[in-house]
């Protein structure tokens, strides 16, 4: 019941927003504790982080982008046309000058360790001094302390609302609030649909494990811990995460993971090849050939889901990921990679 009612209410309220007003400038947005002021809709923006980039493409703002950076995967096919016209400043983090040299009126950042107190690109104050507003995706700063732990530590579990907030705030900044409302409705709809598929199914004994990558194929893997985005995906679908660490991506020994014997294994697919284990095919080969992991139930019965690495991050791909996962959980069969 709660799901259907929520969907109805959401639909009603969002349809109300469909006739959203135009943005009133000057606009001040409170973003991660720093208010950012805009005198007009930005005409040139630079993104640091694929999630922010694709979010802006989803809002149809490709022609307002002056540069992109920090990519984990190839751009989604539906955005290729927009992306081809935008120069790529760097595959990894760009330099401060490269960003500023594009004279942006907005810089978005997917991670606080890109633009923040210890930002690899620069601090928010540095940009502010030049009159450039910065927008950090709320999912990386709300309820998270990025100065503790290698990837930051979540003080509270990740909330999907932070993604909707990114969408509506960016839509407001760029004065495309109607498109923002539509996008949020679409995303919300995907989430609800994913949940619906599993309604009525008994998932009390279903558990899962996310394997992102490993420094060396046989050494301890990076797996999803509690409170992060990947964990949220499991929580929202009603499946238990076998990893109990509260770090977002801890390393846990194979011995512990194998003994936990999760029902489902979710391995990340990415185009990056920094570690041999980045290649999902190598991960699958390892699981099937290692004398211990091949005895896991999930490996023996082929319950391994290959999921886009970007779907495990806070961005629009999260919702597609939820769709893939819920189909698999519902049918009991992993999709072909």
């Amino acid at each position: 019941m709660p799901h259907r009612l929520a969907a109805l209410l959401a639909g009603l309220s969002l349809s109300g927003l469909a006739h959203a007003s135009a943005t009133q400038y000057p606009l001040t947005v409170d973003n991660c504790g720093m208010p950012q002021t805009f005198t007009q809709a930005p005409q040139r923006a630079v993104t640091v982080g694929q999630a922010g980039t694709e979010l802006l493409y989803a809002l149809g703002l490709g022609e307002r982008l002056a540069g992109t950076s920090l990519w984990f995967n190839n751009v989604l096919p539906e955005f290729k046309a927009q992306n081809d016209k935008v120069p790529r400043l760097a595959d990894n983090e760009p330099s401060f000058e490269a960003v500023v040299g594009k004279r942006p009126q907005l810089v978005t950042a997917q991670f606080e360790w890109m633009i923040g107190a210890q930002g690899a690109v620069g601090t928010r104050e540095q940009f502010q001094e030049l009159g450039i507003p910065t927008y950090l995706l709320p999912s990386d700063c709300e309820g998270k302390d990025n100065l503790v732990g290698a990837d930051g530590t979540r003080l509270q579990p990740f909330k999907v609302q932070s993604i909707y907030k990114s969408v509506s705030q960016l839509a407001e900044i760029f004065d495309v609030q109607e498109r923002g409302a539509r996008l949020n409705a679409e995303l919300q709809g995907q989430l609800d649909q994913a949940r619906q598929r599993l309604a009525g199914q008994d998932l009390a004994h279903t558990s899962a494990l996310f394997w992102f990558s490993s420094a060396d194929l046989k050494t301890d893997p990076y797996v999803a811990g509690r409170q992060g985005v990947a964990d949220y995906m499991l929580q929202t679908l009603g499946v238990r995460n076998v990893v109990e660490s509260s770090e977002e991506w801890p390393t846990v020994g194979w011995e512990t993971l194998v003994k936990a014997n999760p029902t489902w294994l979710i391995v990340a697919r990415m185009d990056r090849r920094r570690y041999p284990a980045d290649d999902y095919q190598k991960k699958l080969d390892f699981l099937r050939s290692d004398p211990v992991t091949r005895n896991m139930d999930a490996v023996k019965h082929g319950r391994i889901i290959v999921l886009d690495a970007d779907a495990m991050q806070a961005g629009i791909r999260l919702f597609r990921g939820l769709d893939v996962l819920s189909s698999a959980f519902a049918s009991g069969k992993a999709p072909q990679p």
């Binding site: 050494t219 003994k259 014997n261 090849r273």
Partner: protein
């Protein structure tokens, strides 16, 4: 001589017990009966019914890990003995010749750029090995170029210079190219990690450690002859240059192999030889096997601790050896204070 036989038996017994502990203790609980059954199945086909996951954990994860810990501990300790004997310096240890610095650079280069990744499928281990030997070659060249006589101070300085250079290279590579996640992964590996060890590593580590020990035992009298310096060794009939080159190359090779398998585990090569010298005196006939054994036991215990100190998490072995080794080293220094 009369003490030798019971001492050796005691030592071997201690080693066996430590290895059993290494198999029995781990991140998760595997019952003693299950362990016994797994070993029985593997060693004499007893045919017990054991959960395949437990069997796999004991035989394919924990046993190779313990064996490699023993081999690496023995190998690194032996190398420490060689370097302390040849360089006549109590601070000498295997990484002095630039080996661990070079290994970091090699591993980072492979890890960040997948150097040779697509073509050769170079793993971090191979990168570390090549990097270690490259750094060693540089250090040798530097020490040769700085003087025709094999002066110990020059070798040490060349080692420091080489290490600094490769450490700087590593830092440069990391700051230029790595994400925080990548850097963390590589540095974790470099601090010493036995997690990825399987049977193939055993077939490499154990023979190499035994080979290194054998060469040193063969040269034990020559090592003793260096007690009063290289000139003294020469006047006692030791072909100094040849012996130094043989033993240092042997030490470099053994260390490079060990570092490439498990990362740069510190303190074993420095502290174990000292501790055993305090107990047994400087004679290499006893010091060498004792150090090898001591190193093996030390690293097995350190590995067990690294897996069990914090529940559900593995601490890098290098951190544990430092935590134990540093206070022990301090004690050694203090105990020497009374000496003239």
């Amino acid at each position: 001589m009369s003490r030798l036989l019971p001492l050796s038996l005691f030592a071997l017994l201690a080693l066996c017990l430590a290895m059993l502990a290494g198999i029995a203790i781990g991140e998760t609980r595997v019952g003693a009966e299950a362990i016994w059954q797994v070993l029985a199945n593997q060693l004499w086909q007893a045919g017990h019914a054991v959960d395949p996951i437990d069997a796999g954990i004991v035989w394919n994860y924990r046993l190779p890990r313990t064996l490699v810990a023993a081999a690496c501990g023995a190998g690194l300790a032996t190398c420490g003995v060689i370097l302390q004997a040849l360089l006549r310096n109590p601070l000498a240890e295997p990484y002095l010749l630039g080996l661990s610095a070079g290994a970091s650079t090699g591993a980072v280069a492979v890890g960040l750029f997948g150097l040779g990744g697509a073509v050769l499928s170079l793993s971090l281990s191979a990168g570390a090995f090549i990097g270690a030997l490259a750094a060693f070659a540089l250090v040798l060249l530097l020490s040769r170029a700085s003087g025709s006589r094999h002066d110990n101070a020059q070798v040490i300085l060349a080692g420091i210079a080489g290490s600094q250079l490769f450490n700087a290279l590593t830092a440069f590579l990391i700051t230029k190219s790595a994400t925080a996640e990548q850097a963390r992964g590589i540095l974790f590996w470099l601090l010493g990690n036995l997690s990825g060890v399987r049977w193939p590593s055993v077939w490499l580590a154990v023979p190499v450690a035994l080979f290194g020990l054998a060469i040193c035992l063969w040269q034990r009298r020559a090592l003793d002859a260096f007690t009063f310096g290289a000139d003294s060794a020469a006047s006692l009939g030791v072909p100094v240059r040849r012996t130094q080159l043989l033993l240092i190359s042997c030490a470099a090779l053994v260390t490079a192999v060990m570092v490439s398998i498990v990362g740069a585990i510190g303190f074993v090569g420095l502290v174990i030889p000292h501790a055993l010298r305090l107990l047994l005196g400087p004679g290499h006939s006893r010091l060498l096997p004792a150090s090898a054994l001591g190193g093996a036991l030390f690293l097995i215990v350190a590995d067990i601790l690294s897996r069990t100190l914090i529940a559900g998490q593995v601490i890098p072995v290098g951190v544990v050896t430092a935590l134990i080794g540093a206070p022990v080293f301090a004690l050694i220094l203090i105990s020497r204070r009374g000496r003239p």
